[in-house]
Amino acid sequence: MEKKELEKKTRLFLALILGAWIILFLRLGFLQLVKTDEYRTLARQNHLRLTRLSAPRGEIFDRNGVRIVSNRPVYTISLTNLGLKESAQVVNYLAELLQGEKSFQGKTKEQIKAEIQAKINKFTKNKDVKEKFSPGEPIKIARDITPQTIFKIEELRYQLPGVVVDVEPERQYPYGDLLVPVVGYIGEINELELTAHKDEGYYLKDLIGKEGLEKFYEAYLRGTPGARQVEVDALGRPVRDLGIKEAVPGNNLFLTIDARLQRLTQDALAQGIKRALTAGYFEARAGAAVALSVYSGEILALVSYPAYDPNIFVGGIREKDWIEVNKNKALINRALSRYPPGSTFKMVTATAALESKKITGTYALNCTGYYKYKKDWKPGGHGLIDLRKAFQVSCDVFFWTLGVFTGPEKMAYYAREYGLGEKTGVDLPGEEAGRVPNPAQKYEKWQKELVRIQKEIDDLKQGNQGSRGKLADLEQKKSKIEWELKWREYDTLDMAIGQGDNYYSPLQLANYLAAIINGGTVYHPYLVKKIVTPDGKILQKIDSQEVRKVNASPQTLKIIREGLHLVTLPPAGTAAGIFAGTSYKAGAKTGTAEVHGHDNHALILAFAPYEKPEIAVAVIIEYGGKGSGVAGPVARQILDGYFDLAKTKLALSPKEAGQSRD
């Protein structure tokens, strides 16, 4: 070979190598000089792992320190570093160890394996999640693991890379359904809540109060999560602890509720509803009861029936339970939902008539059983009666007359004075304001209907496609609505006895009764007395708070109170049978609210003692028939219980509570 040619070739060859080396240099320069920071961050993310330590939520106690909602620590198992080739082996081992555990009861190893794999796939295979999912993030696969199994897992630590054992606090309900649904429940935060609480340090998979006290006092109950920083190796095995910031537990709530009275009320209402069912009211499946401290607005018992077992929400609710609980509408707090008040509204009518001087306390009339075209509930009427007597026998004709005397505006004014038709401001989410009827409200309501019908008619006329019959039909509807736009006398009559467009919550009704009997003060009803830090310091003390003084004279209130007392007295009192033989003197007003196409709602408002009232009670049983029939005995049981409990200072034991659950 020619030497020159060889030199030329070799030079070309060397140039080629040099070119390759320059490519390497450039690439190295790009990685190590330009992108350094990016890769440094990635390296740090690789070996430094920050785990959040969830804080135990604050606990909830009753007024006497009975723990209604508490926490217990449970072991959970999570997997990190999924997708490595060791994962399949790890899942296999785990499935074997977890056999017979509570979360996998009665499942074979293969079934457990499939279940774990499904949980993993949900995160790693799902495209949407995958983008947000970093391989170091743990995925929880089992909770409430026994210490024996945990011990085994710790022993096999090196065969189980990526398996993380954590201790997490979990909600515990020692008394079962006591104070359910008032306490509410917690669950994993959803997208909506995450955006709503954007700046409060919530992360995906955090727990948050969804309903009831858990939701209302979320900020207090939540606590501050801690964190632990660990250096890990490629298989996620911890190599070195770099430090820990302990979680701070949430603050504890002390309620105005008396757990014993609450239990008793829950049971009494459940029994009452059962009685209504056996008495033939087949739709009677729900109800509510409220007991208030008359001079402070403290809620002693707040019951909504049906309740549910709060334990179903612990560790994530199963679909079956969720469907069940929603079918029963058990998540709704019925004590805050609105119902027609029926005759329990009559105190408003009386106040309006007395205060506007349309009648005096001695005014009397002869009830013939008729007021114009309206018939009293008692055929033949009540004869000559005055206001007090009218309360006792719940004479409709008397209150119709008063209603016509005073007119709707006055009645609406006094209803609002008593706090009806406005939110009480109780410390619970989801309270309904209710509705006080009056001419303006009626006009507005029907005006909307009118606009809708008018539009339909216009459409029909424009399209020219509608049949003549249909048009005539609509025209007829329209003229009916036009009639309804105006407040009529029968509206006044309906309003005066609590029918028509009256809608109030049991809590409002109890609070309204309390205002009547405590001399005219509307209090703000409340559930939480004090908020205490985990180390026992009082963070906040909530005192009773006046909303307003009712614009009514003591004389008026006294007359009404006397009338309510008569209700419990024989011979004619509508609640005389119910309150026969009590050791205390009581007052009450029954109510039977008509529901179109259904059985009537049964209501009663009651208080005791008559001389110096302490407790005001409202009970409603949906579609339960007559107030005196099924709601009355429940109220009696509550009042009896209240005075019995005041005598005995017995604490409620968890066992007892469990047994007495209905």
Partner: protein
């Protein structure tokens, strides 16, 4: 045996650089052996750098020293025996090479998904490593005989057959990396043997187009199959919903597809199409590479696509090198290596350890050492006494350069992961012995260069 005259005639720059390189490699193997566990880290934390050295795991280090001594023995042997004498044995060596490679297929020891090792007593060795050197020797003899006959396309044919045979046997193991090295060696040596560069370039171009074509066909098959699968699944779940909801659903009237008859015919057609495509897909893999092999080859283009699977090695290596920065994290301070994120770091990915702990400067230094060796190698090509010497030296330099480029390129994400070690640097006896023997051959050619009659 030691001959003063022989020693004086050696290329001292080449030899010196090699020795520096080997010392450097021992230090890095020592570092790569360090793995943190809770106890080892606790022990380590409070020690200074010198005391830390005493606590390293010296298993690989010590073994490597043994290999190095063995390697220098081979090197001396290769320097001492005139290369002409070795070349004369080409036919025997070619057969021996093939025999060893075929033996691997039968009695080979499997590791990391490939059959590459033969066990002899306590030692395992990798015939495909030595095959590279043997091919260089035998191919040099083969080409030397055909001097002047390589101008046309026809003359190249036998050369391809000659290298093709061992190439296919190695590919069968499978050892794609080494097979590629053979191709590189062949092209390099053909270049020096007088084949027209235009021809070689054309062949290279055809090869690249062919390979790209194969990958494109595969991507098409794969994506079509995936799409069809998705369509079928969504249709099936819709069908389920429709059959559950029954006739009341208004969507049923709105959407013509939801009529059961039209639905099922479409579904059947889709399923038919899916079956055909998946058949082609399977056929494709039977005659070419397996799915995972193809994935591994192209994942370097976008390792983030699958950082837990095929892309894991490259991704962790990129993090290691990138996070090293200009001056590195310091010796024994690499988190990627010592917290075990970096896989097979004492062998194929040892360059990443250099990049992480010694940074851009360390990498630059290492690559410069290699360049010096290669530069000296090209000098030896020019000075070679005869054609055989040129071809031998050309083959060795090509092999060396290709190895370094592909290995380093792999660790920094510009080359596919093919399992090629870094010559004289990665841990492993076959690598050290073969490369030192090859350098010995290079020195042999240098000592017997023109003008000096030995």
């Amino acid at each position: 045996m030691f001959n003063k005259r022989l020693y004086k005639s050696l290329d001292h720059t080449l030899l010196g650089t090699t020795i520096i390189l080997i010392f450097f490699s021992l230090i890095m193997i020592g570092s790569a052996s360090l793995e943190y566990t809770p106890s080892s880290l606790q022990q380590f934390e409070n020690l200074n750098i010198f005391l830390r050295l005493l606590h390293l795991d010296y298993t690989y280090f010590n073994k490597q020293i043994l290999w190095i001594f063995l390697g220098f023995g081979f090197m001396a042997l290769m320097v001492y025996v005139p290369y002409e004498d070795i070349i004369k044995q080409a036919r025997f060596l070619y057969v021996l090479n093939l025999f060893m490679l075929i033996m691997v297929l039968f009695i080979g020891h499997t590791a990391l998904g490939a059959q590459r090792w033969i066990q002899i007593g306590p030692l395992t060795f990798q015939p495909s490593e030595f095959a590279k050197l043997l091919i260089i020797i035998t191919f040099a003899a083969f080409l030397a005989k055909r001097e002047g006959r390589l101008n046309g396309w026809l003359g190249l044919g036998p050369c391809f057959l000659y290298v093709g045979l061992p190439f296919i046997v190695i590919l069968k193991q499978p050892d794609l990396g080494t097979s590629l090295v053979l191709i590189a060696i062949m092209f390099g040596m053909l270049f020096f043997a007088g084949a027209k560069p235009a021809h070689l370039l054309a062949l290279l171009g055809i090869g690249i187009i062919f390979i790209t074509g194969i990958f494109m066909v595969h991507t098409y098959l794969h994506q079509t199959q995936d799409n069809l699968e998705k369509q079928i699944l969504t249709m099936q779940s819709k069908e389920k919903i429709i059959s559950q909801v029954g006739g009341k659903d208004e969507a049923k009237e709105k959407n013509a597809l939801s009529r059961p008859e039209a639905y099922s015919t479409k579904l059947i057609a889709l399923k038919e199409k899916y079956r055909a495509i998946s058949e082609y897909h399977q056929l494709f893999h039977r005659y070419t590479l397996k799915e995972y092999q193809m994935n591994r080859l192209i994942i370097f283009l976008n390792p983030q696509k699958d950082i837990l699977g095929a892309g894991y090695h490259i991704w962790q290596s990129l993090i290691a090198v990138g996070s090293g920065g200009l001056a590195g994290k310091g010796f024994l301070e690499g988190t990627q290596s010592h917290f075990t994120f970096l896989p097979i770091r004492h062998t194929d990915f040892i360059f990443s350890v250099v990049g992480e702990e010694l940074g851009f400067l360390g990498a630059l230094f290492l690559l410069s050492l290699y360049f010096i060796i290669l530069y000296r190698g090209t000098k030896i090509i020019i000075h070679a006494r005869d054609n055989e010497g040129v071809l031998l030296a050309g083959g060795i330099v090509t092999m060396f350069a290709f190895h370094v480029f592909v290995n380093v390129g792999m660790t920094i994400g510009i080359m596919p992961v093919t399992g090629i070690p870094l010559p004289l640097f990665s841990y492993g006896g076959s690598n050290i012995i073969m490369n030192l023997a090859a350098l010995g051959l290079l020195l042999n050619i240098y000592t017997r260069r023109k003008k000096i009659i030995f």
